[in-house]
Amino acid sequence: MDANVTTESASVISANVKAISIAILAMGGEGGGVLADWLVDVAEHAGYYAQSTSVPGVAQRTGATIYYVELFPEIVSDSGGKEPVLGLMPVPGEVDVVVASELMEAGRAIQRGLVTPDRTILIASEHRVYSMSERTAIADERVDSQSLLEAGNAAAKRFVHCDFARLANEKGSVISASLFGALAASGGLPFTREQFANAIRGGGVGVESSLAAFEAGYAAASQPAAIDHAAVSPPAAARPRRLEDLIARATHEFPAAGHEFILAGVRRLVDYQDERYARQYLDWLAPIHDADAQYGTGDFLLLAETARYLALWMTYEDAARVADLKIRRTRFERVRQEVRARPDQIVQINEFLHPSVDEITDILPARFSRFILRTKPLKRLVERFTGKGRVVQTTSLAGFLMLYALASMRHLRRQSLRFERECKLIREWLLQLPSLAAEDYRLAVETAECPRLIKGYGETHAHGMQNYIAVMSVLGRLRGKPNAADAVRRLREAALKDESGKILKQTLQEVNA
C-alpha cells in the first residue's frame, strides 16, 4: 500500500531485468530454513534485496517442504527508483537454482517442473531418505537411485550431485552446511566463496563444524565428475587357505555364472556350521547344475538362484545362530563404531530377545524336544522361561556366557527338530527343480526363487512359511500350462505385497480359476 505504486498512466517497462530465483526442497527438520536464512544474509551483505518465504505448516514433521528465495540487486533498483516486487512461489520453468536435500526431493522438483535445461542448476544430495512406502514394503520397493540421477541429468542445465549428507556427517555438521558449500561453488549466484562463508560465521552456532562441512561441499561441487565416479570397489576377498579345497571344488565343478552365489554360499555355510555342511551344499547343487546345463539357456540362472536360496535356507536363523552372531568380537566393534563411541566411553549392548517355546525346542535334539512338547509340566516350565521378552546384556559376563552357551548348541544342530523339518522341506523343493526344468525351464527358475517368501522369526516366519507352502501347493496344477512361470511369479509377488495375505488369497483364486 505505498503511495508510490499509484500511477495513473502506463509506465515504461524495464524488460529483461529479472530476479534470481532459488528453490530449496527439504524435509522437516533438515535445516532448509537455515540454508534460506544464510542465503538471505549473503545477499543482503552483498547489496541485494532478498525475500524468502516458505510453507512449513505441519510439513515440519518430517514431511516434504519448500523454501523459496528471490534476490535482486539494490543498485539496479535504485537506478529505476522503485523497489522490486519479488515472487512468493517458484514458477515452473523460471527457477535459476534448485537445492534438494535428498535425491527423491530432487525428483519432486523435477516432477513439479522447477528444473529446466535452459536455466536451472540442480544441486542435490545423492543419499536417500526412504519414503514410508519404501520402508514398509515386505520385500524391496525402493525407487532406483540411478533413474533419479539420470532424470537430474536430463532435466537440469547442470546437475551437481554428491552425498552431501555424508560430507556433513564426516565434519560433525548438518546437510544444510555442505549444500550451502555446493551452492557457493555452483556458480549459480553472483557471490564469492568468502561472502558465503561469512554468512555462516555470522550465524554464531556451531560455526567451526558448519564451515568445515561448507568447505567439503564446496570442494565436492567444484569437481563433481571426480566425486561422481569414485565408486569404492570392495577389497578383493582374500582366499582363505582353510577353504581352499571347497573353493577349488566349487569353481571346478560349477560354471562361472554361478560362482558368485555358490562361493558366498560356501562361506556362509562354513560360518554357520562347518565344512561338511558346505560339502553337502555342493552335493545338493550338483543335480541342479546338470539340469541347468541340459535344459537351460546357458546363463545358469536356475543354478544361481537355487545356489542363493539353498544357502539361505540351509542357514535358517535359529536361536543358536542368532546367539553366535551376537557374541562375536567383530560385532562388538561394529556396534561401537555405529554408535560413535569414543575410546574412553563404555558401551553396553542390550539384546531384545523373545524366544518362543518352539524356538527353544527347535535347537534341542529332536527326541528330547518331542519329549518336552509332550510333557505338559516340562513345557510349562519352558514357557515360563520364554513367556516374556528379555533384555540380555551381551557385554555383561552373565549375558555373554548365556549367549555363548546358546551358540554352542550349534554342535547339536544336526540332531535338532528344526533341522529335520527344514531338511525335509529343502529336499522337497530341490527334488522337483530338475524335472521342472525339463518341462519348463522358466517355471523352474521361478520356483527356485520361492524360498524368498520364508523370512523373519516367530510368527513372521510361520506366516512366510504358510505363504510358501500355499504357493508350492498349486505348482502341481500349474505344471504343463503355458503361463505357469508367470503365475508363480505373480503369486510370489502377491505374497510380498501385503501382510494380511488378502492379495495372495485373491491371486491364488485367480490362478486356480
Partner: protein, 719 residues
C-alpha cells in the same frame, strides 16, 4: 516453551523511527501492533500464525514496558471475546488465529462483537491456511467478514504494506465502530523482508484506566431492541463510513489506469504473483510497472462502489483475480456494475479456475486468455514462458521418475511418544479386530496415514470424542475408541467430549494424548504442561479434570513407550464389564521439546565429568531378514532400510539412523509383537563410574578370551 525461540529477533521490536527493520512477516506484524499503540493482544496458536504467538511470548518484557497485556487464549472463542474490552473503552486490541478453523470457533463472539460495534480499534489477524502447505479444509475467511459485516483487509504481501494495513486497520475500525479482519496468507506470514520502523506507542488510555472507571452502554449489548438497531446501524452508518474512509486514505491502489481499455482487478494478497505473471507475459516488469491497468483491492470487503465504477467505466472488459470460492467478489462486482448499468464485460472464474490455489502458472494462464481476447497485439513478439508453451515430450528419464516419486506426508517425529500408542492399537487390532476410531486435530492425526492407518473421521479440534457420540447403543458389546490431544482437551474437549460422554452415558473409550504441549502448533504451553512458566499456570492434571466432570473409569499411563502395558490397558478398556465412559490419559513428553531440554543438559553434565548414559538403538544386519515388520509397527523416521550387506539376500535390511534418540520403542515393539532378535540398545556411558569400570574390567578378559576362541573357529572364512 515453544519449539522456536524468538528471543534474539524480538530485540528488533525495540527499533525506533527511521530505523530499518529486517525480518519475517509475522515479526513485522508484532512491531506494527506496538507502533499502533495496542493495549492488549490475545490469540490461539496454529500455522501460519503460531510464530506470532511465539514472538509475543518471547517479547514479554517489551510488552510489559509498553503496558500491553498478552494472553494465550484458551481458544479462538476466548480470543474473540477478549475484544469485548474495546466495546466500551478506547482501547486498541488485536487477536490472532488460524483461519478458517479458528474463525469457526471464534464466530459466536465475533458476531456479537460486530453487532454491537466497538469504540477502540479491534483487529482480528487471521492466518489464511489455504493452498500449498495448508493442513485444513479449503475455505475462505471472506464469508465471516461478510456475514458479520467486519471489514476485511488483504494487503499486498510485503512488509511495508502489511505494516500499513495494521496501522490503517485500527484507524478504520475506530472510524467505523467495526472490527477489522486482516487476512495473511501462509507465504505472507513467513515472508522475510524489510520496512522503515516507527517508534512504539504506549497507549494513552490504559487497561488500568478502564478498570478503575468502568463504563457501560446498554445500546451496545446484543439484546432486543438494540440488536435490530445494530443491523440498521451497520447499513446506514458503518458501511458508508467505511467507504469514505477507505477512499480518503487510498487504501486500494490504481496502477497504469488509462493505459488500456481493459483492466485487471485483484486482491492485494495476489499482487506479487500477478506482477510476476505480467512480467513473464511481457506486460509488466519487476518494479510493478504494468501495461495493463490494475485495481489493487487491499480491502476486499467492503468493495468500494465508486472506485469499482471509476475503474470499469469506459473499459471493454475487466478480469477479477479472486482466489478461492465461492466467488464473493465477482458476484459483488456484478451487482455493482448492473446497478450502475455499466456494460463492461466482467471476467473472473470463467477464465480462472473456481477452486484451488492461484499459483503464478494459474494466474498467468488466466491473464493470457484475457489479453488474447481483448488485445492480442500486446503479446506479439513476446516469447511465452515455458509453463504456457505447448507441452513437449519430456526425456524418457524424466518421465520414468515422475511416475515414481512418492508423496512424503508429515509423520510422527523420531522418538515421538504418540507413536507407541498407535503401535499398541495395531496390536490390539490383531487380537480384538478393528474398532471405529474417531480422531481429533493434532500430531496424533498422523495415525490415519501409513503405517498405522487408524482413524475414520476428524471433526475438529477437541471434538474427537464428540465425533463418536452417536455410537452409543446397547445393541453391541463393541466399543469405539476416540482420540484427543491435550491441546484439544483444554480447548473444548473437556466439555464437548468428556462432559458430553458422562451426561449421555457413553460406553466408549477415550485416549487423551498428553505430551505436555500443544505440540502440533509448535510446542506451546497449556494448563497441563510440565514446564515451569513464569507467566502462566501449568502442571495441572488432565486425569483430575476428567474425574472432576464425573468419569469413574480413569487410567493413567506415564510412559507411553511401554507398548505391552499400553496394549493391555486398551484391551481392558475395550472389554471391561464396567459400563460408562472410559478415559486413558497417555502421558509422555513431546520428544522435540524433551530433546531441546535434555540435550544441552546432558552435554553440560558430561563436560562437568558426571556419568552420562546415551541410549541408542541399532539393528544387526546379519540377523535381520528384511521383512520390515518392525517398520510397519513403528514408522519412526530413524528406523529405515539400507542395502543388504549379504550378497545372497535381495531385500534391504532395517537400520537405525544416528538421529535415534533412544526412546525405546524399537525394543518394546520387538518384545510386544514378538518380532525378531535383531534389535539392540547400546548404552554409551560417558565418564563411567568406578562400578562401571569394575564390572567392565571383570567381564572383559573372559569375554575377550571366548571371542578369540570364536575367532579361531571362524578364521580363514571371510563370510
Amino acid at each position: 516453551m515453544a519449539e522456536r525461540s524468538f528471543k534474539k529477533e524480538v530485540e528488533k521490536l525495540r527499533l525506533g523511527a527511521g530505523e530499518e527493520f529486517h525480518g519475517e512477516g509475522i515479526l513485522a506484524v508484532t512491531k506494527a501492533l506496538l507502533q499502533s499503540g495496542v493495549s492488549y493482544v490475545g490469540g490461539y496458536q496454529g500455522a501460519p500464525i503460531s510464530h506470532l504467538m511465539d514472538v509475543l511470548t518471547d517479547a514479554a518484557d517489551i510488552l510489559e514496558s509498553l503496558g500491553v497485556h498478552f494472553e494465550h487464549s484458551a481458544s479462538e472463542a476466548t480470543a474473540a471475546a477478549t475484544l469485548a474490552a474495546s466495546v466500551n473503552y478506547p482501547l486498541r486490541g488485536a487477536i490472532t488465529f488460524k483461519s478458517t478453523v479458528g474463525t469457526n470457533v471464534a464466530s459466536d463472539a465475533l458476531a456479537n462483537l460486530a453487532s454491537g460495534g466497538i469504540t477502540g480499534g479491534a483487529l482480528i489477524i487471521v492466518g489464511e491456511d489455504y493452498g500449498e502447505g495448508s493442513s485444513i479444509m479449503q475455505e475462505r475467511s471472506h464469508a465471516f467478514a461478510m456475514k458479520s459485516q467486519m471489514w476485511l483487509l488483504d494487503p499486498r504481501p510485503n512488509l511495508p504494506s502489511i505494516v500499513r494495513a495494521i496501522e490503517e486497520g485500527f484507524a478504520l475500525s475506530e472510524a467505523t465502530n467495526t472490527p477489522v479482519m486482516l487476512e495473511l496468507r501462509i507465504r505472507a506470514c513467513h515472508v522475510y523482508g524489510r520496512f522503515i520502523a516507527k517508534d512504539n506507542v504506549r497507549p494513552q488510555f490504559t487497561l488500568k484506566d478502564a478498570m478503575e472507571t468502568p463504563a457501560r452502554d446498554v445500546s451496545r449489548i446484543v439484546l432486543p431492541p438494540a440488536s435490530f438497531l445494530h443491523e440498521q446501524e451497520k447499513i446506514q452508518k458503518r458501511w458508508p463510513a467505511a467507504q469514505e474512509f477507505i477512499k480518503a486514505r487510498g487504501l486500494n491502489e490504481f496502477v497504469a489506469d488509462g493505459a488500456q481499455d481493459f483492466g485487471i482487478l485483484l486482491q492485494g494478497g495476489m499482487y506479487n504473483t500477478v506482477v510476476r505473471a505480467l512480467e513473464l507475459l511481457g506486460l509488466g516488469d519487476i518494479f510493478g510497472n504494468s501495461r495493463v491497468p490494475l485495481y489493487i483491492m487491499n480491502v476486499t470487503y467492503p468493495l468500494i462502489d465508486d472506485e469499482v465504477r471509476r475503474f470499469c467505466i469506459g473499459k471493454r472488459a475487466v478480469l477479477v483475480i479472486e482466489e478461492g470460492q465461492p466467488d464473493f467478489i465477482e458476484q459483488n462486482l456484478n451487482t455493482i456494475l448492473r446497478r450502475a448499468d455499466i456494460q463492461t464485460k466482467l471476467h473472473g472464474k470463467d477464465l480462472l479456475p473456481m477452486a484451488g490455489e492461484y499459483t503464478a502458472a494459474v494466474i498467468m494462464k488466466g491473464i493470457l486468455q484475457f489479453v488474447e481476447k481483448y488485445a492480442p497485439q500486446l503479446l506479439e513478439g513476446h516469447r511465452l514462458p515455458g509453463v504456457l508453451q505447448p507441452a513437449v515430450q519430456k526425456p524418457a528419464a524424466v518421465q520414468k521418475v515422475e511416475s515414481e516419486i512418492h508423496p512424503r506426508p508429515p509423520s510422527f517425529c523420531t522418538g515421538c511418544p504418540e507413536r507407541p500408542i498407535f503401535t499398541a492399537m495395531k496390536l490390539v487390532e490383531r487380537e480384538l479386530g478393528q474398532h471405529h476410531v474417531s480422531c481429533d486435530i493434532g500430531c496424533h492425526l498422523f495415525s490415519i496415514l501409513p503405517p498405522f492407518n487408524l482413524g475414520a473421521t476428524t471433526m475438529g479440534y477437541g471434538l474427537g470424542w464428540a465425533g463418536a457420540a452417536a455410537f452409543n447403543t446397547g445393541e453391541t458389546q463393541k466399543r469405539t475408541i476416540s482420540i484427543m490431544g491435550d491441546g484439544g482437551f483444554w480447548h473444548n474437549g473437556l466439555t464437548s467430549g468428556v462432559g458430553n460422554a458422562v451426561f449421555n452415558k457413553n460406553d466408549g473409550v477415550l485416549v487423551v494424548i498428553d505430551n505436555a504441549y500443544t505440540a502440533a502448533t509448535g510446542g506451546q504451553d497449556i494448563l497441563s504442561s510440565q514446564a515451569d512458566n513464569r507467566n502462566r499456570t501449568t502442571k495441572l492434571s488432565i486425569a483430575d479434570a476428567v474425574r472432576g466432570v464425573g468419569v469413574k473409569w480413569v487410567r493413567m499411563v506415564t510412559r507411553t513407550y511401554d507398548v505391552a502395558g499400553m496394549r493391555d490397558l486398551l484391551k481392558e478398556a475395550l472389554t471391561t464389564k464396567e459400563k460408562g465412559p472410559k478415559v486413558i490419559v497417555a502421558q509422555s513428553e513431546c520428544t522435540l521439546n524433551r530433546q531441546r531440554r535434555v540435550k544441552p543438559l546432558m552435554k553440560q553434565l558430561a563436560e562437568q565429568g558426571n556419568r552420562v548414559v546415551r541410549e541408542r538403538f541399532g539393528v544387526d544386519a546379519e540377523t535381520c531378514t528384511g521383512d520390515h515388520s518392525c517398520i510397519r509397527l513403528s514408522g519412526c523416521p530413524s528406523l529405515t532400510i539400507q542395502p543388504n550387506p549379504d550378497p545372497l539376500r535381495k531385500d534391504p535390511v532395517a537400520t537405525v539412523l544416528d538421529s535415534c534418540v533412544g526412546c525405546g520403542l524399537c525394543g518394546e515393539v520387538a518384545h510386544a509383537a514378538v518380532l525378531c532378535p535383531s534389535f539392540y540398545r547400546a548404552d554409551v556411558i560417558t565418564n563411567p563410574s568406578r562400578w562401571d569400570r569394575l564390572r567392565n574390567s571383570f567381564a572383559r578378559p573372559i569375554i575377550a578370551f571366548l571371542q578369540r576362541r570364536l575367532d579361531t573357529r571362524l578364521a580363514g572364512n571371510a563370510a
